[in-house]
């Protein structure tokens, strides 16, 4: 009782529970463009493998500032309208944009803790603690915590441990927010287990040279690329 009163007075000290997340975007998540993106993505993924019941998508951009994490968040939310179990994973250990946007403080448990587990059994147990649900939607999120230095090893561990494969047994759609492909090679590493990658592009911001470089340097990234989400500025 005293504790809850304390947290009411000082909400900043309140520990984020599993069901008290709220989507912190200033605009509506119900977006026609994102719904269109969802249906286009769905068409393309199902075209590639019609028998597939669950699929893993990646959202990335050439550099920061092109709206990749918002697209990932809104796309994942959009998938909740047609699929029951949707998971959004923050795989950007360099900036942890999703986690910073969704959580007001450092999450109690995160993907970093999951990867620190010694074996697969422990890993799956930790995952259940690290997955958070949103209040009004069926969307769930697996946050990451920003790591200093070069976190490529962590990302590699995600794919070496076949974590995404195991999660896809339960979730219908998994949307991964990836680090910018134009700056880091992490997105290329992630293509192994991902069925399709969506690139976000911002008009008058994204450089042509960067796009060119991304697809020239990583052939596998281009093979997995489904297309672009194009943000034109008003």
């Amino acid at each position: 009782m005293a504790g809850s009163l304390f947290y009411k007075i000082f909400p900043v000290f309140a520990r984020r529970g599993k069901t008290d997340l709220s989507i912190p975007l200033s605009f509506s998540l119900n977006d026609d463009a994102i719904d269109q993106l969802r249906s286009e993505v769905l068409d393309r993924v199902l075209q590639q493998s019609p028998e597939k019941k669950s699929f893993i998508l990646g959202v990335t951009s050439c550099e920061y500032g092109e709206g990749a994490y918002q697209t990932a968040l809104r796309l994942a939310h959009s998938f909740t309208q047609i699929r029951e179990h949707v998971l959004l994973i923050d795989l950007d250990f360099r900036s942890a944009q999703i986690s910073r946007a969704v959580f007001s403080s450092k999450p109690e448990s995160s993907l970093n803790d999951v990867l620190a587990s010694e074996n697969t059994v422990l890993m799956l147990e930790t995952v259940s603690a690290a997955v958070y649900s949103f209040e009004n939607t069926s969307l769930e999120v697996l946050p990451a915590v920003k790591v200093a230095g070069n976190p490529s090893g962590l990302l590699e561990a995600v794919f070496d441990s076949a974590l995404l494969e195991k999660l896809s047994e339960y979730y219908d759609v998994i949307v991964c927010a990836l680090p910018p492909a134009g700056i880091y090679a992490d997105a290329s590493m992630a293509t192994r287990d991902i069925d399709g990658i969506i690139f976000t592009v911002r008009e008058n911001y994204t450089k042509r040279e960067m796009i060119d470089n991304v697809f020239t340097q990583s052939r596998i990234l281009k093979e997995k690329a489904l297309g672009f989400m194009y943000y034109s500025a008003v």
């Binding site: 993106l37 286009e40 944009q97 040279e209």
Partner: protein, 237 residues
């Protein structure tokens, strides 16, 4: 299928669009540039160094006789006072060239806008010489040369009093704080505007950002799945 190579990196459409987006910046740069150029020339004008020398030639004959060698070539009429004669003589460009030669400056190009002229005053026996240039040191050197020339000149008999008045008008803005400030502000604005223009040009020409979905498709052979128009500030990281 559109080939990747068909999209040029120098896209006039992109450049024009970028210029249109930065029209306020370009206009501001033009206005600042105009102001800076105006300020620069204003300051240059202010930076002129002027000195006035007074010569008292009361001991000289006032009837226009051609006693001195230097005056021998002049056509002195009866109606012409000696003051007027001196005024004509020392306002001549030939005289300026002679003074410049005397201090070792090439007269072919007059880089510092050296100007020497004389004029009469209210007193019938006094005329003044005005020396100005863009350089303070040069003006002093010219002034000394003029005084030396006048004193050693056979046209000025011994006993003529030379009154040397320096900075009578206090126009030597170079040595005052205000003059330096104006100069540095003007030069700073000029440099700033120039650099801004260069940066803008580099940004417009070299950035070559994506300006339309068709360019994107042509570059990558990938479709634009969806398009959304959003205010710039809402596209965050």
């Amino acid at each position: 299928m559109i080939q990747k190579h068909s999209v040029s990196y120098i896209n006039m459409h992109a450049i024009l669009k970028s210029c249109k987006r930065n029209i306020a910046f370009i206009l501001l740069a033009i206005i600042l540039c105009t102001v800076a150029i105006y300020a620069y020339y204003s300051v240059t004008h202010v930076l002129k160094h002027e000195y006035v020398v007074e010569f008292n030639y009361t001991v000289l004959p006032v009837n226009g006789s051609t006693q001195s060698g230097r005056l021998s070539n002049m056509d002195v009429t009866a109606s012409q006072t000696l003051g007027m004669l001196y005024q004509n003589l020392y306002s001549d460009s030939v005289y300026t060239d002679r003074i410049l030669e005397r201090i070792g400056i090439n007269v072919a190009n007059n880089p510092n806008n050296v100007s020497i002229y004389s004029y009469e005053t209210g007193s019938p026996n006094v005329f003044k010489m005005h020396v100005s240039s863009n350089s303070g040191n040069l003006t002093k050197m010219i002034l000394e040369a003029v005084v030396d020339d006048m004193q050693t000149s056979p046209g000025l008999p011994p006993g003529s009093m030379v009154v040397f008045c320096e900075d009578v008008h206090e126009i030597d803005m170079m040595e005052t704080g205000m003059g330096s400030l104006k100069k540095y502000v003007a030069v700073g604005i000029l440099l700033g505007v120039f650099l801004s223009c260069v940066l803008l040009a580099l940004k417009v020409v070299t950035r070559c950002a994506i300006t339309e979905p068709a360019v994107l498709t042509a570059l990558s052979n990938l479709p634009v799945l969806a398009q959304k128009r959003v205010p710039l500030q809402r596209i965050e990281r």
